[in-house]
């Protein structure tokens, strides 16, 4: 653009001004100094990321920075120069040269930004294609579900699920802690049981929304072990600010140990024996009071639900298992505080999964159908 300027200058009378020769350079230095915050934005602050995709994004950040910086320095530098050099002197009522612009220069005004954005777009497109690439054969498949106001995760291969806990007026929230194996490709399907949520882990340099009715899938292969914090970024209501999660990238052996620990906890929580055909469940603070319920086989089941969460809707649903492929029974939503009794059809003996469909795995447990006393 300085090329254009010199063209404009040709043949014009020099404008008298009170500037010293160093002014222009000083203004430029000032602008560069003021650009420092922008530079540090890129350098010190963007995380380098836990996988190859994140490192691509990190690189893109710098490419944009180096393309944007000259624009910033040009505008601020020019502002600094005109403020220093073209100050109107007291008592000077004459007009400067009335240059209203030439078409050639103005066409350059369109061309230069166009050139910059073509570069930006090319780099951006390459990066986003890499980031959005989905590994067709992932080693792990997770379904991560956002609900007001906690995250939960189901591991398809291991058959386990883990969940965070929502905050309430009286209790603090607990983050979802989800482990993934180091160096293995992980597929995440994001779902929501209620409103939109935002799955974001700064260390991944990646964000995706959990949209009701529209599961989003992405894959990544973590290459750095560690614990990475994240939280919901899409405003989702009252306790949005406390909907947190931790991604733990563990070496293979440790990951297996973690899985076994979850399995053990789940089977411990999921063992109980039927005593009759009626069940009472209480929902409070978006949790059930029991993680295991049981009823005898071959008889209709009487289920009493006590919802103590004022203004919050819950329901009760029985599924074949936690993969949520087949639902056997579902009540309507009931807003608390309320108590209602439902009758579910008789079921053959076996192990089932139950949850509040509104809140997903965060309010779930095992339903054992067996023989009385056995």
């Amino acid at each position: 653009m300085s090329h254009t300027m010199t063209q404009e200058d040709k043949g014009r009378e020099p404008v008298p001004d009170g500037s010293r020769p160093g002014d222009q350079r000083r203004a430029l230095r000032l602008a560069l100094l003021l650009a420092l915050p922008l530079v540090t934005t890129g350098c010190g602050l963007v995380q380098t990321g836990l996988d190859a995709k994140a490192q691509e994004v990190h690189r893109l950040w710098f490419i944009i920075l180096w393309l944007a910086l000259p624009v910033f320095v040009f505008v601020w530098g020019m502002l600094a120069i005109v403020i220093i050099r073209y100050r109107r002197r007291r008592g000077d009522d004459s007009e400067p040269v009335q240059n209203a612009g030439k078409n050639g220069a103005l066409v350059t005004f369109f061309a230069v930004p166009l050139g910059i954005i073509i570069l930006l777009l090319s780099f951006g497109e390459v990066t986003v294609n890499k980031v959005d690439h989905i590994d067709p054969r992932p080693a792990e498949r997770l379904v991560v579900t956002g609900s007001q106001w906690q995250w939960s995760a189901r591991y398809a291969r291991e058959g386990i699920s883990v969940s965070g806990k929502t905050a309430t007026e009286t209790t603090n929230s607990k983050p979802l802690v989800m482990a993934v194996p180091l160096g293995r490709s992980v597929e995440v399907t994001l779902e929501s049981t209620d409103v939109m949520h935002g799955f974001f882990i700064p260390g991944m340099l990646f964000m995706r929304n959990a949209v009701p009715g529209h599961p989003n899938v992405f894959t990544f292969t973590p290459t750095r072990a560690g614990a990475y914090h994240g939280q919901c970024t899409q405003f989702c209501g009252l306790w949005h600010s406390k909907m947190t999660l931790v991604l733990e990238v563990l070496p293979q052996a440790k990951f297996q140990a973690w899985v076994n620990l979850q399995k053990k906890a789940q089977s411990k929580a999921g063992s109980c024996t039927p005593t009759g055909s009626s069940i009472t469940l209480t929902a409070q603070h978006i949790q059930w009071d029991k993680t295991c319920i049981a009823a005898v086989a071959g008889q209709p089941i009487k289920i009493t639900i006590i919802n103590k969460d004022a203004g919050i809707a819950h329901n009760f649903a029985i599924w074949v298992n936690s993969s949520l492929k087949k639902r056997l029974f579902q009540t309507g939503n009931m807003s608390g505080p309320a108590t209602k009794t439902y009758t579910a059809p008789a079921l053959p003996a076996g192990k089932y999964y139950f949850q509040c469909d509104v809140h997903g795995p965060a309010m779930s447990g095992t339903l054992i159908i067996g023989n009385a006393g056995g």
């Binding site: 404009e8 404008v15 934005t41 602050l45 963007v46 995380q47 691509e56 994004v57 893109l60 950040w61 944009i64 393309l67 624009v71 910033f72 505008v75 601020w76 020019m78 005109v82 403020i83 073209y86 100050r87 109107r88 000077d92 004459s94 400067p96 240059n99 209203a100 612009g101 220069a105 103005l106 005004f109 166009l114 930006l120 777009l121 780099f123 951006g124 986003v128 980031v131 959005d132 409103v195 939109m196 935002g198 974001f200 700064p202 990646f206 964000m207 995706r208 929304n209 949209v211 009701p212 009715g213 529209h214 914090h229 919901c232 970024t233 899409q234 405003f235 009252l238 949005h240 600010s241």
Partner: protein, 562 residues
């Protein structure tokens, strides 16, 4: 610079008793413009106080000044009011006052429609605010009001929807009025390519409103129906889709962003030439850029949805980057207007220069958000909060303050204090940057927007503390501006018709103008008719002096008439 005073005779005094009734029933575009400004600045004080409340809550980790519910209401109201009841109507207020003056018209095309569009504003605004009086509290789903969250709202949410429908109707009526006024009521000689850029910007804004607001209306009506009539437009469980809302809302919502800034661009495009004493560099290219931005703004809405997985990110990144080309042209035209000018740093010029400097930061950090992969790291974080405030506060509001200092003498007949104006500017410039620049960092560190609090372990406490203290300084600078306005209004009138050496027709009449705007109109032969007149008068005076004859009439003003 008092040469044009001769064109203006003072307005006839009016009986005092009818004053209130007069304001309530007026169809004078100038009075309606003033009411727009007073109404909007009142809402500005309210929404600003809400911002101070929010900053106080965020001052320290795990703070409990506001409950999560109160915090959610506060940011929802802050955003809604600032966008719909402050920035847009402030620009409409200046538009109401100055578009007819700038094109040499007697009034707007439909004066009574104009009054209606104003009176709908406080009605709509108060309807939204009335949510605070309901049992469930005010709307608390954010100004974007995403479904399904907003469908969980109660009466406050309903009032928010109804209020916005009223405000949208007000904008539509006003916009149609502006378009007809500009097309039909221009004075003889005021061709479209001689029209002041502020009037051009108001016109392109109006076209945006006419094309985009119906989309908002549709979204709001569907929300209302889903809420109360049992329809399922947005319910995925019954064949509806969240994408329906996002697309309908943002198809309005992105042009909205340009509605909020075009008027400020227009004001800056007037102020920079006047205080550089040069013509606007590339006048026709500025108009071209405005029209390109107007058109392109309808193609970029999907960049608000990059992270939803509902849109084609690559397509929207192309259109979004493309719109930065004409925006860049605007900035270059202002810079080259300044280049080799003779700059005087009156408060309007300070704010105009501040506008350019801040707007460029808001433009540059927007580049990261326009690139989908980079956006995945900052979307819905404090980075976005920083960006929108660089565009809407450092941008739109700096432009509005520039306009306020520039046009206040014309509206009130009084010059604002220069010293207090400088204090206002420097305090605001510094505190604005200290408050909002570090938010970029908070975003990169992972602080999501719209969080009521953050844990002490996050390490975001110090940055937030500094920002809050600095936000109090922003409030102080606004109080200084308010004091300036009040003190000036208590003084006698002292402003000449043309205090700055203006270019456009509003400076060719008295300050304030008579009810009929002009006694005489100068001949319009360029986009700077008042400068032409000034030059003609001084040339006539020079050549006339030896003969001892001729007055300013020799410069050839023509009868005002439609």
């Amino acid at each position: 610079m008092t040469t044009t005073d001769v064109l203006a005779k003072p307005a006839a005094p009016r009986p005092r008793s009818s004053r209130v009734l007069d304001w309530l029933t007026t169809t004078d575009h100038k009075k309606i413009g003033i009411m727009y400004l007073v109404n909007s600045f009142t809402f500005f004080a309210f929404a600003g106080a809400l911002a101070i409340l929010m900053r106080t809550q965020l001052m320290a980790p795990d703070n409990t000044v506001l409950s999560p519910k109160a915090f959610n209401e506060t940011f929802t109201m802050h955003g809604t009011i600032m966008i719909f009841l402050v920035i847009l109507p402030l620009l409409s207020g200046f538009g109401n006052y100055f578009v007819p003056l700038q094109i040499g018209a007697l009034d707007m095309a439909f004066p009574r429609v104009n009054a209606a569009s104003f009176w709908l504003l406080p009605v709509g605004g108060l309807t939204i605010v009335a949510g605070y009086l309901t049992k469930g509290g005010a709307a608390a789903a954010g100004w974007t009001n995403y479904v399904p969250l907003s469908l969980q709202g109660g009466t406050g949410e309903d009032l928010w929807i109804l209020g916005l429908l009223v405000v949208g109707t007000s904008s539509l009526l006003g916009a149609i009025n502006f378009i007809v006024t500009v097309l039909r009521l221009r004075a003889p000689g005021m061709t479209l390519t001689r029209m002041p850029i502020f009037t051009w910007a108001t016109t392109t804004t109006s076209i945006l409103i006419v094309l985009a607001v119906p989309s908002l209306t549709a979204a709001l009506l569907m929300l209302l129906a889903d809420h109360h009539l049992g329809t399922v437009f947005f319910d995925p469980a019954h064949g509806g889709s969240v994408a329906n809302y996002l697309n309908t809302f943002w198809f309005f919502g992105h042009p909205e962003v340009y509605m909020l800034i075009m008027g400020a661009w227009g004001a800056v495009s007037e102020i920079v030439p006047v205080f550089s004493r040069k013509p606007l560099y590339g006048y026709r290219f500025v108009i071209l850029a405005l029209m390109l931005i107007m058109a392109l703004s309808f193609t970029v809405w999907g960049h608000h949805m990059y992270t939803t997985g509902l849109v084609n990110d690559s397509f929207f990144s192309v259109t979004t980057e493309l719109i930065s080309v004409p925006t860049g042209v605007l900035v270059l035209c202002w810079l080259f207007t300044l280049w080799k000018g003779k700059l005087s740093f009156e408060p309007p010029m300070l704010f105009a220069l501040g506008f350019i400097a801040m707007f460029v930061i808001g433009g540059i950090d927007g580049v990261w958000m326009a690139s989908p992969a980079a956006d995945f790291t900052i979307h819905d974080t404090y980075f976005v909060v920083s960006h929108i405030h660089y565009v809407l506060l450092g941008g739109s509001l700096f432009g509005i303050f520039a306009a306020m200092y520039y046009w206040f003498p014309k509206i009130s007949g009084r010059m604002l204090s220069r010293r207090l104006g400088q204090w206002h500017f420097w305090l605001l410039l510094i505190s604005f940057n200290v408050t909002f620049f570090p938010m970029h960092f908070l975003g990169l560190w992972g602080m999501p927007r719209r969080v009521a609090t953050y844990p002490i372990t996050s390490g975001w406490g110090l940055t937030n503390f500094i920002e809050t203290i600095s936000a109090y300084v922003i409030a102080l600078s606004m109080l200084i501006a308010l004091a300036n306005l009040i003190m000036t209004l208590r003084k006698p009138r002292n402003a000449p018709a043309d205090p700055w050496g203006g270019n456009t027709l509003e400076w060719a009449t008295s300050s304030p103008p008579p009810p009929h705007n002009f006694d005489m109109l100068p001949e319009i032969r360029s986009e700077r008719p008042v400068r032409d007149l000034r030059l003609a008068i001084s040339a006539a005076a020079r050549s006339a002096r030896p003969q001892g004859a001729a007055g300013p009439d020799a410069a050839g003003p023509v009868e005002a008439g439609q």
